[in-house]
């Protein structure tokens, strides 16, 4: 049954950003990704969505805080996450699907930690297998 769940979850996460969110996500640009290199300001491990804030130094040295929306902890655990995986002050590279309107926010795709590990929202087992195409 675990494999059935992981398989379904892998498809779900691969299929569409809007599927993984509890709300409509038409404001997200799903055609592109953006990499943020910065410092974790906050990370909240909570239902139905976890989230993180990443401080990014922009043009002229101005610090911009990006808000990154994530999925639920029950899914993140299967992708190798714990509540302690990131903490304020950590230097990270975060890939997001950004908001269309240019505001500093987006949906989480992956994070590369200071120790070189890269984590996504996809189950660890599913990451080893090719993602199945969406059913609809």
């Amino acid at each position: 049954m675990t494999s059935r769940f992981l398989s379904a979850l892998a498809i779900l996460l691969a299929a569409a950003v809007s599927v993984s969110a509890h709300h409509a996500a038409a404001g997200i640009d799903r055609t592109t990704t953006k990499e943020l290199k910065g410092t974790i300001k906050a990370f909240s491990w909570q239902n139905p969505h976890s989230w993180m804030e990443v401080e990014v130094v922009g043009e002229g040295g101005k610090v911009v805080t990006w808000t990154v929306e994530m999925t639920a902890p029950s899914y993140l655990v299967r992708a190798g996450w714990k509540a302690s995986t990131v903490k304020p002050g950590d230097e990270v590279r975060v890939t997001v699907r950004p908001l269309r309107n240019g505001d500093p926010g987006g949906l989480f795709v992956s994070v590369t930690l200071a120790d070189g590990r890269t984590l996504t929202e996809r189950p660890v087992l599913a990451q080893a297998a090719p993602a199945a195409p969406p059913a609809q």
Partner: protein, 257 residues
């Protein structure tokens, strides 16, 4: 004479007892006297944790409306406005993102699992999405008096067994901030019939028939599947203001409200 008096007293006592019984409130679904009533065995038991199977074609959304359905009135206006918003890359009335309940039918197909507990008289459902609570009464009660019932986002569900199928009739919905699908509003007249059956011990299928004389002519029909996820539990979850402040897609200015 003595016989007549005794007869009169006995008849009076029986009548009084009968009147008291008639006035007694109906038994709750979990009352032992209700649970222990003699009933045919249920054809199946949905007790377990279930996740909508998005691999099954059409399993996730309750839309777009089928070709046989003609939207009208406010529903048509909403639908056309939603299509316009979508064409502009905007979100239309993202009420769920603003903490309004998803409600039936949408709550059944969110991407969080649903815990279901079945007793002879009732099925309780708790969604992993906002802990939305749903009750399906199986104890033979009719729908409530419309002058008494409190409308809700999941409505009032009454189930009955038809051979190997559980037929669930649901009405008395909240008619605002409640959507069948993006741009297709539910109303106080929305009526949903679910025909629930087991494909096998680990797969459940539900055929939906949704009508709403206020919103459209015709019947919307959808068939969806769920799989057991035996390694999942439902956790406490609420829609919180400080959470929503950190969800970019609910805070975006691209939401049409």
């Amino acid at each position: 004479m003595r016989f007549a008096i005794v007869t009169f007293l006995v008849a009076g006592a029986v009548a009084t007892a009968g009147a008291q019984q008639a006035d007694a409130p109906p038994l709750g679904a979990l009352a032992p006297a209700n649970l222990n009533k003699s009933r045919p065995a249920a054809p199946f038991d949905v007790t377990g944790t279930w996740l909508n199977d998005i691999r099954f074609k059409g399993s996730w959304r309750f839309g777009p409306p089928p070709d046989n359905v003609k939207l009208k009135g406010e529903a048509l206006k909403h639908f056309e406005a939603a299509r316009q918003a979508q064409a502009e890359g905007k979100v239309y009335h993202d009420d769920i993102g603003q903490c309004w309940p998803a409600g039936l039918p949408m709550i059944m197909t969110r991407v969080w699992p649903i815990a279901m507990v079945q007793k002879p008289t009732v099925i309780y459902m708790v969604s992993g999405f906002m802990n939305s609570f749903r009750t399906i009464f199986l104890d033979g009660r009719p729908h409530s008096d419309p002058d008494v019932v409190v409308p809700s986002f999941n409505g009032e569900s009454i189930g009955r067994w038809e051979k190997d199928t559980l037929v669930v009739d649901t009405k008395y919905f909240v008619g605002h901030h409640h959507w069948i699908d993006s741009g297709v509003p539910a109303s106080t007249e929305t009526h949903i019939v679910e025909r629930i059956k087991m494909v096998n011990s680990a797969t459940m299928e539900i055929e939906y028939t949704i009508t709403d004389p206020k919103g459209w002519d015709g019947e919307m029909k959808f068939t969806k599947r769920w799989n057991r996820v035996d390694d999942q539990d439902i956790q406490e979850v609420s829609c919180l203001p400080d959470l929503n402040q950190h969800i970019p897609s609910t805070q975006s200015k691209d939401n049409v409200r």
